[in-house]
C-alpha cells in the first residue's frame, strides 16, 4: 500500500485553524527555517481512508486470540477508554494548582492505595512510563537504600537466566554489575547457585514470579531470605502479576520493591507498543527514596510533595502516564477485590486447560502445573522435520490467531510461550487447541508447507536481514 506521502498532492489540505485576530508577528529572517518542510498535503477524506487501510493491516485484541506470553493481552474494557477521555481528566494542565486538580490527585492516591493492597507494598509511584522504566526506577531505589546506609560496595544485581532482557539492561543503566545465574532443569532458581554468588557486594536480586516459564517458584521464601541475609534487597518484576491477584502478594514473599505493568495486568491497552505505565511500589524503608512529586492526602485534601532530600529525583516529566492510571482505576473499581481474584483464577485455569489439552503432542519442558502461562518447545520438530517455532508461529497467522511469544525465555530452545488470559472463552481455547494440533499434524506430514506460511496475510515473511544491513528508515521526497 502507498505511504501517506505518496498520496500527497500540492495544494490539498485541511482547513483547521482560524485566521489571526491580532497583529501577525514573524521571526527575524536569520531565525527562520531554511529547509523546506515536507509534510503530506492531503484531504481529510484521504487521511481517514489511509488510516482505515492501516487499521485493516493491524491485529488487535479485538481481532482475535492474542496469547503473547508475558504480555497479558487481555480484553481492554471500553469503559476504561471512555473514562480517560472525560474532559475533567484529559483537559487538565499538569501545572494547575493542586486545589484545582483534586480529582486527578484522588485518582492517583486511590489507585496507589489499591495497588498497595494487591502487592503488599507500602507506597507506589506512578511516574515510570513502562515496565522497563519501572525496573530502572526500582533499582535506583535499591542503590539509594544502600548508599544511605553507607554500604557502598554493593554494586551487583543478581538476575536469573530466565529473566526478561529488560532486567539486566535496567540494572546496567542504574550502574550495577549484572550477575546472571542459571536455572535448575525444572525451571526454578537454583538455590545452590544463588548461595554461591551472594555476598557483601550483593545489592539486590531481580525475579519474575510466577517466572517466565509460567511456574511459581516454590522456594520463593528461601530465595528472598538468602538475599536478605546477605544484606541485599529483593526486586519483583510484576510482568506476571496477573496470575496471583488476590491470591498471594510479592510483599508477603519477601520482596522490597516491585513494578507493575498497568498495560498488562490492569487491562489498559498497549497502543501498538505504548503508552504503558510501570508504577513502582516499595516497602516502608524505601518510601523516602521514591521519585518526586508524591501525592499525599490529609483530611480529604490532596497535595503534591515536591521536595524530599533523600528522593532519587524525577525519572520523567510531571507525574507519569496519568490517563493510563485513570483506566486502571476504572478497571479495579469495576472488578473489585473479589473480581480481581476471579480474573487471576480464570487466567490460571485457562492456561492449565490449554496446556493439558496440548501436552500429548507438544512437548512441555516443565511438567508442573503452570500459572497464567506456559512454555512449549518444538525442539524435536526442528530436529526431525526442520519445522521451527517461527514456522509454527507463522502458520497460526493464517488462522487469524496471534502467535505466542517466540524464542523466549532463552533457557528453552524453540520456545513458544502461551498466555491465554482470563478474558478468553472455552470455545476460543478449544478452537485454538484444535488449530495448534492441526498445525502440528501438518508439520509432521508436510513440513515444507509450513516454511511457506503465512499465505493469507497482507505481506509474506519480510526480509529482516536486508532491513538491518541496508537501513531505510524514512521516506525520501
Amino acid at each position: 500500500m502507498k505511504l501517506i506521502f505518496e498520496k500527497s498532492k500540492a495544494g490539498r489540505g485541511c482547513d483547521i485553524l482560524p485566521s489571526c485576530d491580532v497583529p501577525i508577528v514573524e521571526l527575524d529572517d536569520n531565525m527562520k527555517r531554511q529547509k523546506e518542510l515536507h509534510l503530506p498535503e492531503i484531504s481529510e477524506t484521504d487521511i481517514s481512508r489511509h488510516y482505515t487501510e492501516l487499521m485493516k493491516r493491524t491485529f488487535g485484541v479485538n481481532d482475535g486470540f492474542y496469547p503473547l506470553g508475558s504480555c497479558t493481552m487481555k480484553y481492554n474494557p471500553k469503559i476504561n477508554d471512555e473514562m480517560a477521555k472525560l474532559p475533567g481528566f484529559s483537559n487538565i494542565h499538569p501545572l494547575q494548582p493542586a486545589s484545582t486538580a483534586q480529582g486527578c490527585l484522588e485518582v492517583m492516591k486511590t489507585t496507589e492505595k489499591y495497588l498497595c493492597e494487591i502487592t503488599g507494598m507500602d507506597a507506589i509511584s506512578f511516574q515510570p512510563a513502562a515496565g522497563a522504566h519501572g525496573e530502572f526506577t526500582g533499582l535506583l531505589l535499591i542503590r539509594a537504600y544502600h548508599e544511605a546506609r553507607k554500604d557502598e560496595k554493593r554494586n551487583k544485581i543478581i538476575v536469573p537466566d530466565s529473566a526478561h532482557g529488560t532486567n539486566p539492561a535496567s540494572a546496567a543503566m542504574a550502574g550495577f554489575t549484572v550477575i546472571n545465574i542459571t536455572s535448575t532443569k525444572d525451571g526454578y532458581v537454583d538455590l545452590e547457585e544463588l548461595k554461591k554468588v551472594v555476598g557483601d557486594d550483593t545489592a539486590g536480586f531481580m525475579l519474575t514470579n510466577p517466572n517466565t516459564v509460567g511456574l511459581f517458584d516454590k522456594n520463593i521464601l528461601e530465595i528472598t531470605e538468602i538475599i536478605h541475609k546477605a544484606g541485599g534487597l529483593n526486586y519483583y518484576d510484576g510482568a506476571n502479576l496477573n496470575a496471583i491477584m488476590g491470591i498471594a502478594r510479592p510483599g508477603d514473599m519477601g520482596f522490597d520493591v516491585v513494578h507493575l505493568n498497568l498495560h498488562k495486568t490492569f487491562s489498559t491497552p498497549h497502543g501498538g507498543g505504548g503508552p504503558g505505565c510501570g508504577p513502582v511500589g516499595c516497602k516502608e524503608s524505601l518510601i523516602k527514596f521514591l521519585p518526586l512529586p508524591r501525592v499525599e492526602e490529609e483530611n480529604g485534601v490532596y497535595k503534591l510533595i515536591l521536595e524530599r532530600e533523600e528522593s532519587i529525583g524525577r525519572v520523567k516529566g510531571f507525574y507519569g502516564n496519568f490517563l493510563v492510571v485513570v483506566r486502571a482505576l476504572t478497571y479495579i473499581l469495576t472488578l473489585g477485590g473479589n473480581g480481581l481474584k476471579y480474573a487471576s483464577e480464570n487466567a490460571v485455569l485457562n492456561a492449565n486447560y490449554m496446556m493439558h489439552k496440548l501436552k500429548d503432542i507438544y512437548k512441555m519442558p516443565f511438567s508442573e502445573p503452570c500459572m497464567h502461562e506456559f512454555v512449549m518447545t518444538v525442539e524435536d520438530l526442528k530436529k526431525e522435520k526442520g519445522v521451527s517455532a517461527l514456522d509454527i508461529a507463522k502458520a497460526l497467522l493464517d488462522y487469524g490467531i496471534h502467535p505466542p511469544t517466540m524464542y523466549f525465555p532463552l533457557i528453552v530452545h524453540e520456545a513458544l510461550m502461551l498466555e491465554p488470559t482470563e478474558t478468553e472463552s472455552k470455545e476460543t481455547l478449544d478452537y485454538v487447541i484444535e488449530i495448534l494440533r492441526e498445525v502440528y499434524e501438518e508439520a509432521m506430514t508436510n513440513p515444507e508447507s509450513l516454511h511457506q506460511c503465512p499465505k493469507k496475510t497482507p505481506i509474506g515473511r519480510p526480509d529482516e536481514v536486508t532491513a538491518a544491513r541496508n537501513p531505510v528508515l524514512r521516506y525520501h521526497f
Binding site: 493481552m73 484529559s90 494542565h93 512510563a129 550502574g175 520523567k316 502516564n321 497467522l397
Partner: protein
C-alpha cells in the same frame, strides 16, 4: 461485581474436570501455604489478620461511570489557559481523535509479527519520516516516553570512555535537568550546568566549560523562559572541542524556526505533546528523538525500517534490533521496551492533517498571540518583560504584586494564568499563548488584571 471473564461457573468446572482438578484452589497448590492470602477479602481492614487484601466489592459499569465522572468533576477545566512550561494547549483536529481511537491501533501490542502488523509499522515509518522532516535530522526512532526522558537518553548516547562530562544549559526546562540527573545517578559521569545570562545561555562562560572531556552540550530551543537562543553559537562552541550537540525543541516552533540540523545538532529531541495530544495532567506524552546517520546505531528503542517480503512487496519491520535489550541484555543501548507508539501515531495524524501550511499557521498564530499578550500585559503597571530577546510563544514578566494571589483571582474567572516561577525567578510569571487564545480572551484577561489591581 463487574467481570470480563466469559466462562460460566459450569464451564469452569468442566475445564477443571478435564485437567483432573476438583477445585480452583488446587490450581494454586504449587504456592507455598505461607504466602497464600486469607480468604476474607471483604472484611473491614481492622478485622483482618495481617495478610489482608482490602479492596471493595466490584460495581457495574453504570456505577463506575458515575463514580469516575464525579471524581473528574473535582478538577477545574479552565476555559482559558495561559500556561505552558512543558505542556501546551493546542487545538486537536477532530480527525486526529477519531483515527487514533480505532480499536485495532489501541489494542495491538508492539509489532513483533510483521505480517499482521504492517499498519502499525507503516504508521511508525511515516512518523519517523515526519520527525526527520521537522528536525532536519537523518534518522528518528519510534519514540520514547516524553521530552525529559528523550533528553536523558540523548545525553547518554554521547558519553564515551574519555568524555564523561555532560553540559546542560541552565535555561533548559528544570524537569529535563532533574530527569538527566536521575538517569545519571548510578553512572560514572559528571553533570555541569552552564549558567544563563539575560535569559539565555551565557556563551562566554560556556566556552570555558567545554573541553576535551565534554561528551555533549544540551540546549533547549526556545528555552524554558521562552527565549530564542543563539543556538548556532552554542553549537560551534560544542563542536570546537568535538563534543556532541543535543537540542531539545518545541515541535510546533519547528514549523517556522531554524531546525536543529541547521543549527548543527547531532541529536534533536523534544516533547511531542503539542502535536495533537491533550494536556492529560502530564501524560501520556511523546518523546521524539532524531539523530545524524553517524549516531544511528546508538539510538535507543524501536526503529522501523523498510524491506521486502518473500514476494518482493514493500514491507516494514522492526530493525537494527542488535541495539536492544532483548538481544544485548546488559549491553543494550537502553532498557526501553514499551514506548509511546499510539502517541507517535497521534503526532503523525496531526502533522498530516495540519500539513506544512497548517503547522506554520499554528506556529505563527501562537507566536503572534504571545506577542499581543505580552504587549497588553506591559501596558499594565508593574508588568514588564524580564528579557529583551526574541521569543516564540512563552515569555517572562514581572508582576504588580504576589503572582499566586493574582492567579487565585484569575481562577475565579475560570482562567489559568501564567506560571508563577520560583527560586531565582520568584515574583516573575512565565506566560504562554497558543492559537487557542483569542484576542477577546486576552483582552478579558487584561481587563480582569486591571480590576484586580484596582481592588
Amino acid at each position: 461485581m463487574g467481570t470480563y471473564v466469559p466462562n460460566t461457573r459450569e464451564e469452569q468446572q468442566e475445564m477443571l474436570k478435564a485437567i483432573g482438578y476438583s477445585s480452583i484452589d488446587e490450581l494454586f497448590s504449587p504456592l507455598p501455604k505461607e504466602v497464600l492470602l486469607q480468604k476474607e477479602v471483604l472484611l473491614p481492614k481492622e478485622e483482618l489478620p495481617n495478610r489482608s487484601f482490602h479492596i471493595p466489592e466490584g460495581i457495574s459499569e453504570y456505577e463506575v461511570r458515575s463514580k469516575m465522572t464525579k471524581i473528574s468533576e473535582k478538577n477545574i477545566v479552565f476555559k482559558s489557559i495561559f500556561r505552558g512550561f512543558g505542556a501546551y494547549n493546542h487545538y486537536i483536529p477532530a480527525i486526529v481523535k477519531q483515527v487514533t481511537s480505532k480499536e485495532e491501533f489501541i489494542t495491538a501490542y508492539t509489532p513483533y509479527q510483521a505480517e499482521i502488523s504492517q499498519g502499525i509499522l507503516q504508521s511508525i515509518f511515516e512518523y519517523q519520516t515526519m520527525i526527520c522532516e521537522l528536525t532536519g535530522m537523518d534518522v528518528s526512532n519510534a519514540s520514547v516516553y516524553d521530552g525529559e526522558t528523550a533528553a536523558a537518553e540523548a545525553v547518554l548516547m554521547c558519553v564515551e570512555k574519555k568524555r564523561k562530562k555532560i553540559i546542560i544549559s541552565e535555561t533548559a526546562n528544570p524537569e529535563i535537568i532533574e530527569t538527566i540527573r536521575t538517569y545519571c545517578n548510578g553512572l560514572d559521569v559528571q553533570i555541569v550546568i552552564a549558567p544563563g545570562k539575560e535569559g539565555k545561555t551565557d556563551c562566554e562562560v560556556l566556552k570555558t566549560l567545554v573541553d576535551q572531556e565534554t561528551s555533549c552540550v544540551l540546549l533547549q530551543q526556545p528555552n524554558y523562559l521562552g527565549q530564542i537562543e543563539d543556538a548556532e553559537e552554542v553549537g560551534k562552541i560544542a563542536k570546537g572541542k568535538d563534543a556532541k550537540y543535543v537540542m531539545s525543541c518545541n515541535p510546533i516552533s519547528l514549523g517556522i524556526l531554524k531546525t536543529p540540523a541547521e543549527y548543527g545538532a547531532d541529536i534533536a529531541v523534544g516533547e511531542g505533546q503539542p502535536l495533537g495530544l491533550p494536556l492529560s495532567f502530564g501524560g501520556p506524552y511523546l518523546g521524539f528523538m532524531a539523530a545524524t546517520e553517524k549516531m544511528m546505531r546508538k539510538l535507543p528503542g524501536r526503529i522501523v525500517g523498510e524491506t521486502k517480503d518473500s514476494e518482493g512487496r514493500r514491507a516494514y519491520v522492526l530493525t537494527l534490533q542488535a541495539r536492544e535489550q532483548h538481544i544485548r541484555r546488559e549491553k543494550a543501548s537502553s532498557n526501553i521496551c514499551s514506548n509511546q507508539a499510539l502517541c507517535a501515531m497521534t503526532a503523525a495524524v496531526y502533522l498530516s492533517t495540519m500539513g506544512k501550511q497548517g503547522l506554520e499557521k499554528a506556529a505563527t498564530l501562537s507566536m503572534s498571540k504571545a506577542h499581543y499578550l505580552a504587549n497588553r500585559l506591559c501596558e499594565l503597571e508593574g508588568f514588564d518583560l524580564v528579557y529583551s530577546g526574541a521569543y516564540f510563544n512563552e515569555f517572562v514578566t514581572t508582576c504588580n504584586g504576589n503572582p499566586d494571589h493574582l492567579m487565585k483571582q484569575l481562577e475565579e474567572h475560570c482562567i489559568l494564568g501564567g506560571y508563577p516561577l520560583a527560586g531565582k525567578q520568584a515574583g516573575n510569571i512565565l506566560w504562554c499563548a497558543t492559537e487557542m487564545n483569542t484576542k477577546e480572551e486576552i483582552d478579558e484577561l487584561i481587563h480582569i488584571i486591571k480590576e484586580v489591581a484596582k481592588a
